[in-house]
Amino acid sequence: MIVRAKLNHFGHTAGTMESLNLDFPLLPYTFVTNPIRMATQELELILSRQLAECLKQAMFLTDTAGNLVYYNEGAEEILGQKFSDTGPMPVEVWATLFKPLTLEGVPMPPEDLPLVCTLQSQNPHHGSFSIRSLNGELYTLTVTAIPLHGRGNRFLGAMALFWKET
């Protein structure tokens, strides 16, 4: 039986076995003698983060579970937090850090945020909402959330780009 093991996101075997038409042994294998001490993010997320580092506009980057794995300087203003202080944040934390209001001024539930919709539907979502700046001023933000589908059509997470309406 010729099989190979697929590595999942965290560098462990995910248990997916796939037959390969090889006439030499291709066996499942995980590193035992040289353990992978640190999982590496998927390349598509690594490259997205590098884009975010270069953008002036705010950008969020999440994994498939909605963990905010990175946000850039522009986004620090929206969240009122610094990435160097918070590190990655689960969706329950970041979605409630800022208090979005609909354009009519009604509090907006986190599940209506375009990024949360994108994570659920794996489709792009776009919308506008109001938030209060750190000095109490109300302003409008427009956001486009884009799903990240990598090689092999794997869903890897999402990015959200924000525009401050003036």
Partner: protein, 278 residues
């Protein structure tokens, strides 16, 4: 495990006295354990492999990191490809919407090449690999996509508790701030970490890299930084720029060693090199 370097040059092959020390052939490295052999990349260096190496088994396994010409150019002239007695397995990355076969056929077809892939007399089997971990005979292999133009893999090949990591073409960071983001955010770190030998792209000086950011290669100093972060035991600088003479390569290495103090040995990969890991 024995590692033999047959091609060290990046981009295109060079010849002449100024490349005689480190070699002018494009990427090819052979890893062997007893009679089992793995060929990494099929640059023009593949043509230097002594035919005796495969004569006993008539079976050849070639792992391609990617399909840039400097990594496949030797395949068209590799004699076992024209010998019906040979079984050749080629493992490499598929494209986003194209198969590995379609991508190889672009090279193996006129007008680029006179022989069609389908007309090659050897028995060739292609296997698409990506972010995978598998064993081939005595070799345990881990592959993952890394930052370079187009789908590009790096390989870690281990036998027992010894391993070699192969990153011929790699731009570990595009934005220098990423170095501070930690190992998790550095392309290929899972493949390189803790390797006994890391063979890594080091095509440019830092000044040259400034003008070539995003081209998919890196400076010698970035290679050292990547190797230090990955805690490797030895670094071989690879994919030498065709414009760099042997003398220039040695100057560059002396400069980078002065500039960066690393705890592991760093050498320029040479086509004469053989390394043993036991």
């Amino acid at each position: 495990m024995e590692i033999r370097i047959y091609g060290t040059r990046g981009s295109y092959a060079v010849s002449g006295d100024t490349a005689s020390r480190y070699g002018g052939n494009t990427a090819c490295v052979v890893i062997s354990e007893g009679n089992d052999v793995l060929v990494l990349d099929g640059g023009t260096g593949i043509l230097r492999i002594p035919p005796e190496l495969f004569k006993r088994s008539h079976k050849i396994t070639i792992l391609l990191t990617h399909l840039h010409l400097d990594h496949i150019q030797g395949l068209g002239f590799f004699k076992p490809m024209y010998n019906p007695a040979y079984d050749i397995h080629i493992l490499g990355p598929a494209g986003y919407n194209t198969t590995l076969k379609d991508r190889l056929i672009r090279y193996f077809s006129p007008p680029l090449f006179p022989v069609h892939f389908r007309d090659l007399p050897s028995r060739i089997q292609l296997h698409e690999i990506g972010h995978d971990t598998f064993a081939l005979g005595p070799f345990r292999i881990h592959s993952n996509f890394i930052c370079h133009q187009g789908p590009t893999l790096a390989f870690r090949v281990a036998v027992g508790n010894k391993s070699v990591a192969y990153f011929p073409d790699h731009e570990p960071v595009l934005v220098s701030d990423i170095w501070e983001a930690g190992k998790e955010w550095i392309s290929g770190m899972d493949v390189a970490e803790g390797a006994d030998i890391l063979i890594h792209d080091a095509q440019y000086t830092s000044a040259e890299y400034e003008k070539r950011q995003g081209w998919g290669h890196c400076s010698q100093s970035d290679a050292l930084r990547f190797a230090a972060m990955a805690d490797v035991k030895k670094l071989l600088l690879f994919h030498h720029d065709p414009d760099h003479t042997d003398e220039r390569l040695e100057e560059m290495l002396a400069e980078v060693k002065k500039e960066m103090n690393v705890s592991f040995p760093v050498e320029l990969a040479s086509e004469r090199d053989i390394y043993s890991l036991d």
